[in-house]
């Protein structure tokens, strides 16, 4: 008994990975916030992204490595608004809730699970509008300065320069995306609501009959019918969705199905936040041209 405990303690201590540099340890619940922290703090932080763009952000499961990473993190950046309700307990010290800093869309007036997997605080997929990224960037810069006061000036300078570059990038994207205005699309899940609002796209239907419920044959048949009367320009699904439903509808309606990266890392081009939006707009423009 005692020898085993000793053995375990030795094992535990031998695995202590003492931080080599004094870098701030950032735990990002989603890859977009990992990318943003990297933009804002460079090598002053070591960033760990708990999830990837290949995972359904609404259905993340807790696992031991996440608990270990949260335990030693100095800063936890999560979307919040109950997106991580199944695996992160809000309120731990160092918790930064990104969705607090943006105006949320689709805040339901009636909250009932018969309406599907709805979020009482509004649609949490806020990162698909770059203006939201800018708002979170400002708040995050201040939080970084607050928890690492020695480097506060450096964070502010870096934050300022990021925002300048980001704002001109937004202008560029808005120019590029001008032909997309008013374009009717069908979404798999309402994961790109903020993108739709930003670019003035028109969402005319979803493959899911209600949020979180997988596409049903009868619902898809209804969509085929609706598309015949008022065709959409694209059927949009994301990296983690099962592409079958989009392919089914595309085949029957001849409307192209477009896979969009859900977040940074979702496609080869979406290497960072800039690449993510470049690719989002590029893929949508590919349908128009």
């Amino acid at each position: 008994m005692k020898t085993i405990i000793k053995l375990l303690l030795v094992l535990a201590f031998s695995m202590l990975s003492w931080p080599v540099s004094a870098a701030l340890r950032v735990f990002a619940c989603e890859p977009e916030w990992a990318a943003l922290a990297q933009e804002l703090a460079g090598d002053r932080v070591s960033v760990y992204s708990a999830t990837t763009a290949m995972q359904d952000a609404d259905r993340i499961e807790a696992r031991p490595s996440l608990i270990a990473r949260v335990r030693s993190a100095d800063l936890l950046i999560c979307t919040g608004s109950q997106m991580e309700i199944g695996w992160i307990q809000p309120g731990s010290p160092g918790y930064f809730e990104a969705s607090r800093f943006v105006a949320k869309l689709e805040v339901p007036s009636v909250v009932d699970r018969s309406l599907g997997d709805i979020h009482p605080a509004g649609n949490p997929h806020i990162h698909t509008d770059p203006r939201n990224i800018a708002k979170v960037a400002e708040a995050l810069t201040q939080r970084l300065a607050q928890i690492d006061p020695e480097n506060a000036d450096a964070y502010r300078a870096r934050g300022k320069s990021f925002l300048e570059r980001w704002r001109s990038a937004i202008e560029k994207w808005e120019r590029q995306a001008a032909p997309l205005k008013g374009m009717p699309i069908v979404e798999h899940h309402r994961a790109f609501v903020y993108l739709v609002a930003w670019l003035g796209l028109k969402e005319v239907g979803t493959l899911e009959p209600i949020p979180g419920i997988p596409p049903t044959p009868s619902h898809l048949a209804g969509l085929v019918e609706a598309m015949r009367r008022q065709p959409a320009k694209a059927i949009v699904y994301s990296t983690y969705n099962d592409p079958k439903a989009a392919a089914f509808l595309s085949e029957r309606t001849k409307i192209p199905a477009v896979m969009l990266p859900y977040s940074v890392g979702g496609t080869d081009k979406a290497k960072d936040l800039y690449g993510f939006f470049d690719d989002l707009i590029g893929r949508l423009l590919g349908v128009v041209k």
Binding site: M1, I4, I5, L8, L9, L11, A12, M15, L16, S17, T51, T52, M54, Q55, D56, R59, E61, A62, R63, P64, S65, I67, A68, R69, R71, S72, G80, S81, Q82, I85, G86, W87, I88, Q89, P90, G91, S92, P93, Y95, F96, E97, R100, F101, R113, D117, A121, K135, E138, A139, Q142, R143, Q146, G212, I213, P214, Y240, D242
Partner: protein
């Protein structure tokens, strides 16, 4: 602009003008008309005034909007100040959730005669449900952060029949201890093994493994304190200590020992991590030590009399557990697989008193020593969205049980039939369908050889549904 007219009509109706039953003189009619006309004028004036004010307000709003753009930058600053406060659950009420379950059982053997031969009965609820349709225990959960320092949880299970409500878990837990420490105090599911900490609704089969039934009385919920520490490593490592009263089997079925201090202790350690981009694993070891006093069980002796026997001594249980979860790209939505197994080994050394109530051959005490073990291994595969199938194999090894009373010839082995050397086994298959995260319908078939010389074919059809606040799931 038909509102004044509508208003006038409403007034007229209210005055009863349309009611021909009233005899009204010309003069009165004139007066009324004049009154109505004046009211109409007055309302028109008021509405004009309102419209003017509305216009002004709209202009002001336009200006405000422009100002708001500038104010937003300041607001972000203010929000940063406030951002350390998390979103509350149901405003400030605790998060409440409810789990409902119900089962249909078709059993080839009478569940009232259920026993697991070869092992000391735990006097817990270890048998299958009653035959036919029955409502399971409903689970009611309340949980909320108490303040920045503590979180409180109460989980009550409400029995469908006369037993009333039982507190399954009721504990507080520290939120802000530094260096990876957490303290839990109250009643909680012990950290011994893996499945013991999970609520029945999160199990992958309708019932507990046989090993959990014989070594932990289905489930060990202890009144006590738990200290847990998570190592500051990228590999997950935790160690924990629990000190409890020993209120249930193996400590004792009668509410624990009448003793100051602690009646039971548990030590546990886990280690876990990721393999590649799709697999997560965890392995654990735990040790439970307790000294039962007057732990009773009933068993029919060689004369056929149902006598009460009592055990005094030490009980030490070792448990090893391992879990492996796989999902392509860690996205379990469509397909995923979970492999889980636990191994238990128990030593008990003490005295066994036969027939404490002197109902049969007279009360006698002799030495008792047993070395027993058991394990299970199960795999559950989600092969398509919503559908899962699983298989579980259970095996218990009765090992050795030395009875002083039998060795000395005072009594025969037939006086302790349940302690006979028998190795129970069970095969279980299940398939379940989960229309959403909150509902599940499961069909399970088991070939249960818990009883010496009798095979029980068990078919269970159950639903498990949860409503209300969404709690965090365990690995």
């Amino acid at each position: 602009m038909n509102r004044p007219r509508l208003m006038a009509f409403a007034v007229a109706a209210a005055l009863g003008l349309s009611n021909s039953a009233f005899a009204v003189s010309d003069q009165e009619l004139k007066d009324l008309r004049e009154q109505v006309r004046q009211m109409k004028l007055e309302y028109e004036k008021r509405i004009e005034a309102l419209e003017r004010r509305l216009q002004q307000a709209e202009q002001a709003a336009g200006k405000a909007e422009a100002a708001a753009g500038k104010a937003q930058e300041t607001a972000v600053q203010a929000a940063v100040q406030a951002s350390s406060r998390p979103v509350a659950e149901n405003a400030l009420n605790p998060g409440v959730s409810l789990v409902l379950n119900s089962v249909y059982a078709n059993l080839s053997r009478d569940p009232r005669g259920f026993r697991i031969d070869g092992f000391v009965p735990t006097m817990g609820e270890i048998g299958p449900p009653v035959r036919g349709l029955s409502l399971g225990e409903s689970e009611l959960v309340f949980a909320a952060n108490i303040d920045p320092y503590f979180r409180g949880t109460l989980i009550a299970s409400v029995s469908p029949d006369t037993n009333g409500a039982e507190i399954e878990e009721g504990y507080i837990q520290t939120l802000s201890l530094s260096n990876g420490f957490t303290i839990k105090a109250g009643r909680f599911f012990s950290g011994v093994g893996y499945l013991n900490q999970m609520h029945a609704h999160a199990w992958n089969f309708a019932d507990a493994p046989l090993a959990n039934k014989v070594f932990l009385g289905d489930r060990l919920a202890e009144d006590g304190v738990q200290f847990r520490w998570i190592a500051p490593t990228d590999l997950y490592v935790d160690v924990g200590l629990e000190l409890g009263r020993g209120r249930k089997f193996p400590g004792g079925p009668d509410g624990g020992r009448n003793k100051n201090g602690f009646g039971s202790g548990v030590l546990f350690a886990h280690i876990g991590g990721d393999i590649g981009t799709g697999t997560a694993w965890q392995a654990g070891i735990s040790y439970l030590s307790t000294s039962p006093r007057d732990r009773r069980f009933d068993d029919p002796d060689s004369t056929g009399t149902n006598v009460t026997n009592s055990y005094n001594g030490r009980s030490r249980l070792w448990a090893l557990d391992g879990i492996l979860k796989w999902a392509p790209n860690r996205n379990p939505t469509t397909t995923n697989f979970k492999l889980q197994g636990e191994y238990f080994r128990r030593r008990e050394d003490g005295d066994l008193t036969y027939d404490t109530l002197a109902q049969s051959l007279g009360t006698q005490t002799g030495a008792f020593a047993s070395r027993q073990s058991g394990w299970y291994l199960q795999g559950v595969y989600q092969f398509v969205r919503r559908w899962r199938a699983g298989y579980r194999y259970d095996r218990l090894n009765a090992g050795t049980t030395e009875l002083g009373l039998v060795a000395s010839g005072a009594l025969a082995a037939a006086d302790f039939p349940i302690l006979s050397a028998y190795n129970p086994t069970r095969h279980t298959v299940m398939a379940d369908w989960s229309p959403s995260e909150f509902s599940r319908i499961r069909l399970q078939f088991a070939r249960d050889k818990s009883r010496l010389g009798a095979t029980d074919n068990q078919v269970l059809l159950q639903y498990i549904m949860s409503l209300g606040a969404h709690g965090a799931d365990k690995f």
